[in-house]
């Protein structure tokens, strides 16, 4: 039986829209609007969606880097949305994040040795010597040379910087890493190096990943289970094989068909979605996707579908599958 390491229940993160000189709240951007999922220990859980779907906000809300408006985040059974600052700080040892842009996430004024030592210092781990040893050990683990520790971030390429960011995330031996678009800023030939490295580290450090990306091929390659988000909600959640073989939600189908096929003679059956993603400050009534859905009917415009299990590996939030619900 799988053990759950992370459980997210009805997570909501709203950002207020302020207007006028009094900065009165005029409405909310519902970046994350009722997201529920579980992540098992040792798995790679993917969150995929287009810009503005709330995937990054979900990642940050889990880590409490953005305070969620509502819902629960249970890490190893404990609701961390209610934790005090001090206990949350302790818990951060177990949960780390790797960001998209390795140019912005490393302090340009610090040497690599300092950047890697910092998490240990903050959490008061080890003596100066032990820390140095640990830093040297991890820099090698991510495929760089200890002789490079006395350099500054600008002396490294994008791929090398992402290796450093990964090493920093590993310094405290976390159990869970949230990787927010970790390879999307990298060149194609470097992207595969980093994905392979992350795969190796998962084995050797027994990590669980929440892997956030917009690239469906990368998600397919890397993840075990995948949640597809649209306008702050999960529209489909399934095992990777099941999702890619038999996408159910009309949005997932369109999304998968839109990926350019790197084979000039490959199939080109494409569902071109009409229009644009509605604004998350003014969400459509009913199903959030109905404004662009070719299958929508009256019910979709009035009633929001809930995520229902169609079989033990697949869940979808769509009225088309409502009747076959178990």
């Amino acid at each position: 039986m799988h053990t759950t390491i992370l459980e997210v229940n009805e997570l909501k993160t709203y950002f207020p829209i302020r207007k006028g000189i009094l900065q009165r709240t005029a409405g909310f951007v519902k970046a994350v609007d009722g997201v529920t999922f579980r992540v098992n220990k040792g798995e790679v859980f993917g969150i995929v969606g287009e810009s503005g779907c709330g995937k990054s906000t979900t990642g940050r809300s889990i880590l409490q880097l953005i305070k969620p408006t509502g819902g629960e985040v249970l890490f190893e059974g404990e609701d961390i949305t209610r934790l005090s600052g001090e206990s949350m700080r302790k818990l951060r040892k177990d949960m780390q994040i790797v960001f998209q842009d390795p140019f912005a996430s490393l302090n340009p004024r610090h040497k690599i040795s300092r950047i890697l030592e910092e998490p240990l210092l903050v959490h008061g781990v080890g003596t100066a010597r032990e820390r140095r040893e640990k830093v040297a050990e991890l820099i090698e683990t991510v495929g760089l040379n200890p002789s490079q520790l006395e350099r500054y971030p600008h002396q490294f390429s994008g791929g090398q910087r992402q290796r450093i960011a990964i090493a920093r995330a590993l310094m405290l031996r976390p159990k869970l890493i949230i990787a927010d678009e970790p390879v999307s800023a990298l060149d194609v030939s470097i992207q595969s190096q980093i994905l392979n490295l992350m795969q190796d580290l998962q084995q050797s450090f027994q990590l669980t990943y929440v892997f956030i990306a917009h690239d469906l091929s990368v998600i397919k390659h890397f993840c075990d289970r995948v949640a597809v988000m649209y306008l702050g909600q999960i529209v489909e959640l399934a095992d990777k094989e099941s999702l890619y073989r038999e996408p159910k939600h009309p949005y997932t189908k369109a999304l998968l068909s839109a990926v350019p096929n790197p084979d000039p003679e490959g199939s080109r059956e494409r569902i071109i979605l009409e229009g644009e993603v509605p604004s998350p400050s003014d969400m459509p009534q009913g199903c959030v996707f109905h404004t662009r859905c070719s299958m929508s009917e009256a019910r979709c415009r009035s009633e929001r579908p809930v995520l229902i299990q169609t079989d033990h590996k697949h869940a979808v939030a769509c009225h088309l599958y409502g009747s076959s619900a178990v």
């Binding site: 030939s189 390659h221 350019p260 096929n261 790197p262 000039p264 979605l273």
Partner: protein
Amino acid sequence: MAVPLMTIQNLQTHFVTDKGRIPAVDGIDLHVRKGEIVGIVGESGCGKSVTSLSIMGLLPKPAGTIAGGHIYFKGEDLAVCKEKRMQALRGDEISMIFQEPMTSLNPLMTIGEQISETLRVHRRKSRKEAWRDSIAMLQKVGISRAEGIVREYPHQLSGGMRQRVMIAIALCCEPELLIADEPTTALDVTIQAQILDLMKKLNEETGTAILMITHDLGVVAEMCHRVVVMYAGKIVEEGSVKDIFHKPRHPYTRGLIRSIPRMDSDGGRLYSIPGNVPLPGTITEGCRFAPRCEHAFDRCMRELPELLEQETGHRCRCWLQT
């Protein structure tokens, strides 16, 4: 065979920096025929964007200069063309769209004014005519409420809409060549599909040739007839899209194709090219890919191979192929 629309011969574009002269584009030969879609693919720093800026005469001055070679467009050498002549050509016979539609549109002008401007400058249309044509052009690129959009400003539009507007501006004078530099990189995949679909349709309808610059092999496979692969300022391989994807010859092209995660294969480890993309200005003797190539031998380190034709239309720069 007819004379190509554009022929680039031994183009060399150099940048002067505090570290000295950097040959960002180092002797490339390339041609685009009428109605053809040619892709230039490569990673950051390979010189693909500098090539496009050289053609358009838009190199950042004074750092970037064309140090040698020719760019013949319908018989005229753009490499030595006067700025005034370039201004007449740009937007008329050759147009360009960029990656970031927000920075390439003027935030202070309405969409209608921006399209009209092009038509009035190049086609000497009256204000009224130009406005009417702008609306027609927006409809052509698939904008449904064109009458409203002409009165709006760029910030009021989404990324996909802005890129459609850019395409409308680029195509309003029916150019013979459209240069598209990463036109869909900043867009979401469903919007990318819309834009690629539109570009392909316009190419088929109007016969505008497209030079497509991208790092995305998927986009290349979808769009292009012919592909040029660049690495560190040089062309390493050139061929029809089928040859490049089904019979790649250069180890770099092969490595690139093998290192992309694919939708039709499953998990496992990805192939990865060791090492890093060389920084401009750090280029060594011999084959530029040799330091990262698993097949490299002595000669590769010493001598630069020529770009040689292997079979009709398929050229490759590699000692293994000679």
